[in-house]
Amino acid sequence: MNKQDYILSINDLKTQFKIGKRVVKAVDGVTLNVRRGKTMGLVGESGCGKSVTAHSIMQLLPKAGSIKEGEIIFRPQNSEEFDIAKYRKTDKKLRNMRGRQISMIFQDPMSSLNPVYRIGDQIIESIIQHERISKKAAIKRTVDMLEMLSIPQADKRIMDYPHQFSGGMKQRVMIAMGLITNPELLIADEPTTALDVTIQAQILELMQQMQEQLGFTIIIITHNMGIVADMADDIAVMYMGKIMEFGAKEDIFLRPTHPYTRALLKSVPVLGNGGNDRLEPIRGTTPDPSDMPEGCSFMPRCDLATEKCKNAPPYEDVGNGHMVRCWYAKGGAANE
């Protein structure tokens, strides 16, 4: 594949948090390529570094966090590619990028909108921030966008305050804020976790519809295997700050190779699939990120672990870009 086909290439990204004297390696060498116009799912347990990866892409890390190593190459369609990791958090280039070229929507729509401003004003502000546009045109674009996101009576509802909206409606407003500037990449950090299941489906469907119409790329972060099965083209499985397995959706679901991915798939219910099977939780808990085991980080919980696993396993291609970080990936014990 051509380099230009990847909108984002992350190479060996390391993001650390310094808390007192402790250093937490939240992201520890992530390498990822995101295909333009496709949807990439980033899955993993809580605390595995998914959100930190996303925040590193936007350089929206809290004060204690910083990118220590690696590059994040962003290739916008109409301008020069650049390495996001090379700029300072407050750099003008990044401020212009945020919201204009890369947008982000957050987990909790309830608190992602400012309670004291009308929702219309909040959406309009994200246009005005990046474009010179007349008030009238901005209002029209806002109403059009909300209508696309099927908010009824959008021209009236832009005058409402956030507390007058339900959770699902607020998330639509957030999506509208993210998409109104026509970004090339939308990062959705657990966009439906705070919503109930029926609304979840609606929001995900809307995101897919918008993607078809506007052609942006989505990185969706979730711990819900159902959502990635539904939405994603490519899936990256993360564990303790590293990508354990990466591949096309079919590879991950039909040919899961890393023991962690397999364990993860066994631990979630699949509708209409062996109703009497018991779910198998992954034994043990995630290790303390400031005190990581040597070698493979999944070793303490892995059924296949051997002496070999005390050395860090390589990140290898097992065919067609299906990448796995395990000693037993290539026809080893993992494929029993």
């Binding site: 936007m58 929206l60 947008s103 909790d108 401003y117 502000e125």
Partner: protein, 293 residues
């Protein structure tokens, strides 16, 4: 930004104002406060219409008169009409209290926003200053400052500003600490909005409810302090009528027992106004929170 839509549809804006007004009107205490405060302010402004007397004019032939139809609250030892002095004095007292409180609020809001948002060394410095101001007994501080700057209406306002910003500063700073972790602030960052704009345009409006309440409390407090300072002769120069200055006459036992009309009217005026302002502030706290129905 808020004005973009406000200019588009005036009707809808007023419906929110209407709802807020309705909320205020449902609160009996707040209505009482609103009526008292408005009535007293109007009476003070309209003083020339309500009384023909000049509050400063000395008339030795009319000294120490009891209240009568001619002089509603009687006259003082120099023959000045007490009713006129109470009205004109109210102008000055309210002006001092309000401008001191507004000035203090502005300082407190600006320092509080910057410290609460950026934290760090700036915050540490201002917190230390605020602590310094608040460990010295306030009356003592006011006394020292007003002897330092000299008596005078303007100086008194400066003194109140200097001592009055601390409460608002703490309030705003504290609110900022919790609000800056909210995800709407993160969302603002994700949309490329700059720091100062996030602090003053997005976070600050969320703190204004409590700030308004603090403003009313400070106004009431400063009116009381002005009265106390003027009573002991350290506030406003005795030539200028204020509620405190009028009560100054009641320093002598003989006045307290023999001429109650000299101190009861300004005393009641102070008590009533402070009570009104405080009840209004309480009501405003409930109304100004947009997330509360």
């Amino acid at each position: 930004m808020a004005t973009v839509l406000a200019s588009k549809q005036k009707v809808k804006k007023s419906s929110l104002a209407k709802r807020n007004l309705q909320k205020l009107l449902n609160n009996k205490l707040a209505v009482f406060g609103l009526i008292v405060v408005t009535a007293m302010i109007l009476a003070c402004i309209a003083a020339p219409l309500l009384t023909p007397y000049d509050p400063m004019k000395i008339s030795l032939s009319e000294r120490d008169l009891e209240p009568s139809s001619n002089h509603l609250f009687g006259t003082d030892k120099l023959g000045r009409d007490v009713f006129a002095r109470t009205l004109y004095g109210g102008r000055m007292s309210i002006l001092i209290g309000l401008s001191g409180a507004i000035g203090g609020m502005l300082l407190g809001v600006i320092f509080g926003s910057l410290c609460g948002f950026f934290g760090g060394t700036l915050d540490a410095i201002f917190v230390k200053i605020a602590e310094l101001v608040s460990v010295v007994p306030q009356l003592l501080l006011v006394l020292v400052l007003s002897t330092f700057l000299g008596a005078g209406v303007q100086n008194l306002i400066y003194v109140f500003m200097f001592t009055g910003w601390v409460a608002t500063f703490r309030l705003v700073r504290g609110r900022f600490f919790s609000l800056r972790e909210e995800s709407f602030v993160e969302a603002c960052r994700a949309f490329g909005i700059g720091n100062l704009s996030i602090a003053f345009k997005h976070i600050l409006p969320n703190c204004l409810g409590p700030v308004a309440v603090q403003l009313t409390l400070n106004t009431a407090g400063f009116i009381l302090q002005e009265a106390a300072l003027s009573f002991i002769g350290l506030g406003v120069p005795s030539g200028v009528p204020t509620w405190g200055n009028i009560m100054n006459a009641a320093k002598e036992i003989i006045v307290i027992t023999q001429s109650p009309w000299l101190w009861i009217p300004p005393g009641i005026a102070i008590a009533l106004f402070v009570l009104g302002v405080n009840s209004l502030g309480d009501g405003m706290r409930d109304v100004l929170d947009p997330s509360q129905l």
